[in-house]
């Protein structure tokens, strides 16, 4: 950690050294007293309380629920929840549809995330180059879909894909985007449409923060735009790209709204199409204990995947 944070942590050390240098005798310096305790409490407490209530407690509660099983006295007896150890997790790992849905979103992410971020990077670089005129217009036009909520975007594209109602019925009557083979990629297109502009803006802002001198020199040496982009700009904005990639990975694993909407357009989208749909379907059976176990596995997988990705890219950068 650098500059401003370091400045604070250095403070106690500095005073201690100063005291020693001044030859002031005395007891071992006491633990530095926290100043402004009341203010800190006022600042941190509201968020801390809400974060605990609506993040930490639910996580704990999900884990707790996932360790319970329903026990019935006979076939029609009253149901009671008893501790079942990891038996819900055994069910999770035996659940074929759930793992199929995980495979589906992983395939989705492996294709959609690189395409989306590739496009976002391309547009950001073009906006940052002298090649494009009307930057303000393009920036805004590409960003407009981000203002469309996922549910609404899915409804719109549902009509655009429809064989009869689509303005592109010449295409949609020949290719059925809502078929079992294609519907996953039809949804991928909806997600891409919504989020390219958003990711483009994050990357573009990172590009704007690069001091011009850094590539002015390369330009004078005769490097073309492509070369500058590849060798100077992209390495410098890697942190921004990693950030967008992590958010995209998280988003992909959580896919819910778009497929849920597509269920009314296409029978190929089943009630266990994505992991989150499986959670929702399972909880409305209701089998909350199993649904809680699904949630825990999913959250853990998301966490591990994004964390691994982060560490992996950091190591690559360090090399």
């Amino acid at each position: 950690m650098s500059a401003s944070t370091a400045r604070f942590t250095d403070v106690p050390g500095d005073t201690r050294t100063a005291r020693r240098l001044a030859g002031r005798p005395g007891p071992r310096p006491a633990k530095p007293r926290v100043q402004h305790k009341r203010a800190i409490l006022i600042f941190v407490l509201p968020f801390g309380a809400l974060f605990s209530l609506f993040y930490l407690v639910p996580i704990g509660y999900a884990i707790y629920e996932s360790l319970l099983v329903i026990k019935r006295e006979g076939t029609f007896g009253a149901a009671t929840e008893v501790f079942g150890g990891l038996s819900q997790y055994v069910l999770v790992f035996q659940n074929g549809p759930f793992w199929q849905s995980v495979g589906r979103v992983l395939a989705f992410g492996a294709v959609q995330v690189p395409i989306m971020l590739g496009l976002a990077l391309l547009f950001a670089l073009l906006l940052d180059s002298p090649l494009v005129r009307g930057k303000k217009f393009f920036r805004l036009a590409f960003f407009v879909p981000y203002a469309v909520p996922g549910v609404i975007a899915a409804i719109m594209w549902g009509y655009l894909y429809s064989p009869n109602l689509s303005p592109f019925s010449a295409v949609t009557q020949n290719i059925n985007f809502l078929s079992a083979d294609l519907v996953l990629w039809a949804i991928a297109n909806v997600v891409t449409w919504v989020y390219v502009g958003y990711n483009m803006l994050i990357i573009y802002s990172a590009l704007l923060a690069i001091p011009t001198e850094l590539y002015e020199a390369a330009r004078l040496d005769g490097a073309g735009q492509l070369r500058i982009a590849w060798s100077v700009k992209i390495p410098l904005i890697m942190p921004a790209i990693v950030l967008t990639a992590i958010f995209s990975i998280i988003g992909t694993l959580q896919l819910l709204a778009e497929p849920q909407v597509f269920r009314s357009f296409s029978s190929a989208v089943t009630s266990t199409f994505t992991p989150n749909l499986t959670v929702y379907t399972t909880s409305s059976i209701p089998n909350v204990n199993l649904a809680a176990a699904f949630s825990v596995v999913l959250a853990l997988a998301t966490f591990v995947l994004s964390f691994t990705f982060l560490k992996f890219t950091q190591r690559k950068e360090a090399q």
Partner: protein
Amino acid sequence: MSTLTPTPGPVRPARRIRSTPGSAPRAQRENPFARASAMIVMGVFTLYFLVPVWWLLVAATKDRAQFTGTNPLWFADFSLFQNIGALVSYRDGVYLKWMLNSALYAGLGALVGTIIAGMCGYALAKYRFPGRELIFNVVLGGVLVPATALALPLFLIFSQISLTNTFWSVFLPSLVSPFGVYLARIYASASVPDELIEAARLDGAGEVRTFFTVSVRMMVPALVTVFLFQFVAIWNNFFLPLIMLRDETLFPVTLGLYGWNSQVNQIPVLRDYVLIGALLSIIPLIIIFLLLQRFWRNGLSAGSVK
């Protein structure tokens, strides 16, 4: 170089001054072929991004017969206002109720959420206290925990205390924005000088007052960014209301339109309302983004660069 770990470098809000775009000698050096292909790429994708919205706009101005009978990408008789009238009077104006709910969930939620995230981020940036790093790391972990994974356990908890199917069951969890704390902390440590806080202290202002009168002003770009992205997140939120709410009058507009859309086959008139309702529901967000773009563009760079 790290990404999610905070590395507030030297003060960065000073933005680089861009050379005037296409200043004569520079522009001439660019290969005309490269220039043309760049413009073609941008043009094609402008169509990709805008045609669906254009189609929605056109569709919203047509009555039902013309929706299927005329060119879907061009206007016929202009019945936008009749359509809006029909939409807002359908079922005692339930659509307006949904819009109002969305505005409350998102507007009020993002406002309160931004204030508390801003305060927490500020404290983490500007004060030294035990557990500071722990709190920050836990919050950072919270950024990686998907909100949808919390929806189900939240539902279970809220049903224990009979709070499901209430305004609060959607509103309260939406207040928490770990990413907001992260952004506020980074921005506060980079752009609120310690000297300023010290000066306010010497003037006898309390810490809390200093924050609200002095420091907040320097954090405006970050706070506007946090507000906007939380606003969008709440406005777009679907899983939490889907799982919490049964009472139609509490729905946000996304959930309401979703419900109508899944009944289109039984009640065909709903298709008209879904389309016009979809168009009206994206207008507030576009307006907010346009009005505040000066702020959030600066704020974005603070979050992503470091």
